[in-house]
C-alpha cells in the first residue's frame, strides 16, 4: 500500500565552500539539518529507516549551483516552516524557494531533461565563432570514458543552446537519467577547438535552471519549462 505524504520541493543554492562537498555528503548534511530543525520528515520502513528525500539531479563535486532541487516527504497534517531549515544549514547552502507538490506529480529526478550551465575560463571571450561552428555541425564526436572503456559518442543531440554572454559561456545541455552530458566534456571540446590548454580545475562551472523538456527556445520564468513548475503538469 502506498502511503500518502506531504510532498515538498525545495530549490536551494550550493555555492562558495559548499562546492567542495560531494553528493553523498550533501545528502547527509540535509538529513542532519532536518533532524536538528526537528521537522516531521517521513522515514522509510525497514530495519534501518532513512529519511525520505531525493535530489532532482546530483551536482558533481567542484561545481556551484544556484538552482538545486530536493524533494522531501513529510508526515501529513503537521504544520512546519521549511524555511526554518536555513538556520541549520552550513553557509553556502540556502533554501531559495519551497513548493508543495501533489501526490500525482512525477518525481523531479525522472522529469529532468536538460540543465543550463555558466562556464568561465580565461579566453572565453573569443569563443563565439567556435560555438557557432559546433551548433552548425550535425555531429560532434567526443571520447566518453566509462569505468571499463572509452568510446566515441555523438554529443550534438545533447546540445540545445550554446552562446557567449558577456560574463560567461552559456550552455543548455542534456541532463537527467535518460541522457546526460557532463558540461566539462563539452567545455574541453570547446577548449580544444579554440586551441587552448586549460586544466579542469581552472574552469569554473555553475549550474542554473533545470528543465523538463529538451527545449532550444529562450524561456521566461512563466513558460512552464522550468522544473519547479512540474506541479502544474
Amino acid at each position: 500500500m502506498n502511503r500518502e505524504y506531504d510532498r515538498r520541493l525545495i530549490k536551494f543554492e550550493k555555492v562558495d565552500k559548499m562546492r567542495f562537498i560531494g553528493h553523498l555528503d550533501l545528502l547527509r548534511i540535509f538529513q542532519g539539518a532536518i533532524r536538528r530543525a526537528n521537522l516531521p520528515i517521513a522515514y522509510s520502513s525497514g530495519f534501518n529507516p532513512h529519511q525520505k528525500m531525493a535530489f532532482a539531479l546530483p551536482l558533481p563535486l567542484g561545481m556551484q549551483s544556484t538552482c538545486e532541487y530536493l524533494e522531501l516527504f513529510f508526515e501529513k497534517n503537521i504544520p512546519f516552516n521549511l524555511f526554518d531549515l536555513n538556520d541549520f544549514l552550513p553557509s553556502g547552502l540556502r533554501i531559495l524557494e519551497c513548493y508543495e507538490i501533489s501526490q500525482k506529480t512525477p518525481n523531479p529526478s525522472g522529469a529532468v531533461k536538460a540543465a543550463e550551465y555558466n562556464v568561465i575560463f580565461d579566453g572565453m571571450q573569443n569563443s563565439a565563432p567556435y560555438l557557432q561552428e559546433i551548433l552548425d555541425s550535425s555531429q560532434i564526436i567526443v571520447l566518453k570514458k566509462t569505468k571499463k572503456s572509452t568510446k566515441e559518442t555523438d554529443i550534438r543531440p545533447d546540445i540545445f543552446m550554446l552562446k557567449y554572454i558577456e560574463t560567461s559561456l552559456y550552455m543548455r545541455i542534456s541532463a537527467g537519467s535518460s541522457r546526460n552530458l557532463n558540461p566539462m566534456i563539452l567545455a574541453n571540446y570547446i577548449l580544444a577547438k579554440m586551441g587552448l590548454t586549460i586544466f579542469e580545475h581552472e574552469i569554473s562551472i555553475t549550474r542554473g535552471n533545470l528543465f523538463t523538456t529538451a527545449t532550444t527556445s529562450e524561456y521566461s520564468v512563466d513558460n512552464s519549462l522550468l522544473l519547479w513548475q512540474i506541479k502544474d503538469f
Binding site: F20, D25, R36, F47, P90, G92, H201
Partner: protein, 571 residues
C-alpha cells in the same frame, strides 16, 4: 589558505574548508589568545576524536581566546601546497602568528607529523630556535606521559586530563602578555601548574652504558616531579553541549558519551588503564542530559558509549534503559565499543539491536589461560566460549578477536593457543542448529605486536625484535587452517619504531628529526610507513632499537619518564 583551484586538484577538498556545523567564529582582533589546536593526522581521524571536541569548546568558551583547528594535510595536498603556510580551518589564517600551537599526541607514530606541521607552519622544529614572535608550542594527549622523545621540539607538555588546568595556564599567559613578559617568564610561571612539564628546565645526564645517571633541574622554579593534571569529578567539569559535525564522512560520525574515565581491570600491558586513575564515573543524570543536548545540536543518528571497558560502568543496565528511551524516540542507534564478553554485555547488545548491524569485537589478548593470568587479563577460556555461545545464540555471525604476540613469558604454546582458541570458537558456532545459522561464520583474528609502555608493570621488559615477531606470526598462521578464520597481524617493523619512541629518552629526538627529514610521515598508515627511512635515521643518529626497544631494564634504572607521577594523589 589554499586557493580554490588548488582544492579542485585533490581527492577530498572537504577536509580543508572548515564551515562545519557548530563551528565557532570570532573576530580574531578582539581576542588576546589565538590557539591552534593541531591534530597530527588527517582530518577524518582528528574530527572523530572526543578530546578535540571537548578542548575546542572548552577553549572557545573563554572570551579572550579563539581556538581554531589544524590537521595534517594529506599527501595529495602536500604535493600542491608549495609555499602556502599551514592555515587554521576557521579563519584560513596562517598559524605562524598564533599565540599557541597545541598538539595532541594520540600515538607515537604521529611524531613525525608533528614536525611536518611545524615545518609547514614556517616554524623551526627545535624550541630553542623559535623566537619571541613565534607561537608557544605545547603538546598533550596520551603520549605526553613520556614526553622525552619530543622534548626538544615542544615548549611545554601538558600531562593529564585536558580540562583540569588549561584555563589556569591561559590566564597566566594573558597576564604575562599584558605585562609584556617574555616566553621564558611565561614558562617559569606555569612550571608549577599541575600537569605542566617544561623540558628546557631539566637536563638528563647519562652513564657510559647509555642509561640515565641524573635528571637535573636547571631552573630554580622547576619542580622535582611533575604531577599529572586530574579532573576529580566528571560531573562538575566542563562538557560541551555541542559537537562539531563534519561536512564530509569521517571515521566516527556520531555523538560520543564518556561514561567514566579509567578502568578497574588492571591489565599489565595497558597504558590507558594504568595512567587514568582513579576511576571517575559520570552520574547517569549528567550523561542523559548530555545525550539529549548533543543529539539535538548535532542531529547525529548514532551515539557511542565510549570508555575503556564500557560494561564496567556501575549503573550500566539502568542507564542503558533510560538512554534507550531517548534514542528510540529519535531513531538513534546506540553503539557499544569495548564491551566485555559477558551476559550483561550480550543482553545490552540485544537491547540496542547492535547485533543486526555489526560484528562483535573482543580481546582475549593471549592464547592460553596461563599467559592471560600473567598479564592479568581477567577473562577465562570458559568465559570466552560461554560468551561466544551467547553471542551466536543472539544472532552474531561476524566476530573479531584481538590478540597480542610478544607478551612477556610467551612460548610457542601460547602462540599455538591463538590458533586453538580460534578454532574452538569456530566449532562452537557450528554447534548451533542449522536453521539458526543464517550465514557462514566470519571470524577475524587480528594479532598485534606487544610494545611495552611507560607506567605499566611491563615498562622494564624487552620487546621482541621484528625477526622474532615475524617468526611468531608465521607460526600462528601456519596453524590456522580453517577457511572461516581470517588471520591478520600488525607490521613488525612499525612496532620497532613504536617501541623506540614509546620508551625513548631525549636523545631519540634526533632520530625523529632525521626520519622526518628523510621523508617519514604518516607512520601509522601502513601504505606510507617506510622502515628503511627509520633504519637510516636510527643508524645516523646512534639511536639503537636494541637499546630502546629490545633491552630489558634493571629495576633500579632511572627511566626517562621517572619524574612524572601519573597515579592518584592527594592534594
Amino acid at each position: 589558505m589554499i586557493s580554490e583551484s588548488k582544492l579542485l586538484q585533490i581527492s577530498k577538498p572537504g577536509r580543508y574548508i572548515g564551515n562545519e556545523i557548530n563551528i565557532v567564529q570570532k573576530n580574531p582582533s578582539t581576542v588576546d589568545i589565538r590557539f591552534a589546536y593541531c591534530f597530527p593526522d588527517v582530518y577524518e581521524i582528528g574530527m572523530s576524536n572526543l578530546g578535540l571536541q571537548i578542548m575546542y569548546f572548552l577553549l572557545n568558551q573563554r572570551e579572550d581566546t579563539f581556538c581554531e583547528r589544524v590537521f595534517m594535510p594529506w599527501t595529495d595536498m602536500l604535493e600542491i601546497m608549495e609555499d602556502t603556510p599551514l592555515w587554521a580551518l576557521e579563519t584560513g589564517d596562517s598559524i605562524r602568528n598564533f599565540s599557541f600551537l597545541g598538539f595532541t599526541l594520540q600515538h607515537e607514530l604521529s611524531f613525525t607529523n608533528v614536525l611536518a606541521m611545524l615545518n609547514l607552519a614556517g616554524l623551526p622544529l627545535y624550541s630553542k630556535q623559535r623566537t619571541e614572535d613565534m607561537p608557544i608550542v605545547c603538546a598533550g594527549g596520551p603520549c605526553a606521559c613520556n614526553p622525552e622523545p619530543m622534548a626538544d621540539f615542544i615548549d611545554f607538555f601538558y600531562i593529564g586530563d585536558g580540562e583540569a588546568t588549561i584555563n589556569i595556564i591561559l590566564d597566566i599567559y594573558r597576564e604575562n602578555k599584558a605585562n609584556s613578559g617574555s616566553k621564558l617568564e611565561f614558562l617559569e610561571k606555569i612550571a608549577n601548574v599541575k600537569g605542566v612539564y617544561v623540558p628546557i628546565f631539566y637536563e638528563p645526564n647519562y652513564h657510559s652504558d647509555g642509561t640515565i645517571s641524573q635528571f637535573v633541574q636547571t631552573n630554580p622554579v622547576a619542580p622535582k616531579t611533575v604531577q599529572r593534571a586530574l579532573v576529580k569529578s566528571l560531573d562538575d567539569t566542563f562538557f560541551p553541549t555541542k559537537m562539531l559535525v563534519p561536512l564530509i564522512d569521517t571515521a566516527h560520525n556520531r555523538v560520543s558519551l564518556e561514561l567514566f574515565r579509567g578502568c578497574k581491570r588492571g591489565c599489565k600491558f595497558c597504558q590507558a588503564g594504568c595512567i587514568q586513575r582513579p576511576i571517575r564515573n559520570r552520574k547517569p543524570e549528567t550523561l542523559l542530559s548530555q545525550a539529549k543536548a548533543l543529539l539535538e545540536s548535532t542531529g547525529h543518528e548514532e551515539i557511542s558509549l565510549v570508555s575503556l571497558s564500557t560494561s564496567d560502568y556501575p549503573y550500566f543496565v539502568p542507564f542503558l534503559d533510560e538512554l534507550l528511551k531517548i534514542t528510540t524516540e529519535r531513531k538513534v542507534n546506540i553503539s557499544l565499543p569495548s564491551l566485555r564478553l559477558d551476559a550483561v554485555s550480550i543482553d545490552a547488545l540485544r537491547k540496542t539491536q547492535e547485533i543486526r548491524r555489526s560484528s562483535l569485537t573482543f580481546a582475549p589478548e593471549a592464547g592460553t589461560q596461563r599467559l592471560r593470568d600473567v598479564v592479568n587479563k581477567d577473562i577465562t577460556t570458559a568465559d570466552i566460549s560461554e560468551g561466544c555461545r551467547a553471542a551466536f545464540a543472539a544472532g552474531y555471525d561476524r566476530i573479531k578477536l584481538y590478540f597480542m604476540s610478544g607478551l612477556p613469558t610467551e612460548t610457542d604454546e601460547d602462540l599455538l593457543g591463538i590458533a586453538t582458541l580460534s578454532q574452538e570458537i569456530c566449532d562452537e558456532y557450528y554447534l548451533l542448529p542449522r536453521e539458526q545459522r543464517k550465514r557462514p561464520l566470519a571470524l577475524n583474528v587480528s594479532c598485534s605486536c606487544f610494545v611495552p609502555k611507560p607506567f605499566t608493570p611491563f615498562q622494564w621488559e624487552s620487546q621482541d625484535t621484528a625477526e622474532t615477531f615475524l617468526q611468531k606470526q608465521r607460526l600462528v598462521k601456519s596453524n590456522i587452517k580453517n577457511k572461516r578464520i581470517s588471520y591478520r597481524y600488525h607490521d613488525a617493523y612499525t612496532a620497532v619504531v613504536e617501541g623506540v619512541l614509546s620508551r625513548g629518552d631525549r636523545r631519540v629526538s634526533a632520530a625523529i628529526e632525521a626520519a622526518y627529514k628523510k621523508g617519514a610521515m604518516f607512520d601509522s598508515w601502513t601504505e606510507l610507513f617506510r622502515y628503511d627511512l627509520w633504519e637510516q635515521a636510527f643508524a645516523e643518529t646512534g639511536v639503537s632499537p636494541d637499546f630502546y626497544a629490545h633491552r630489558k631494564r634493571n629495576a633500579d634504572e632511572i627511566l626517562p619518564w621517572h619524574f612524572i607521577k601519573v597515579g592518584a594523589y592527594n592534594e
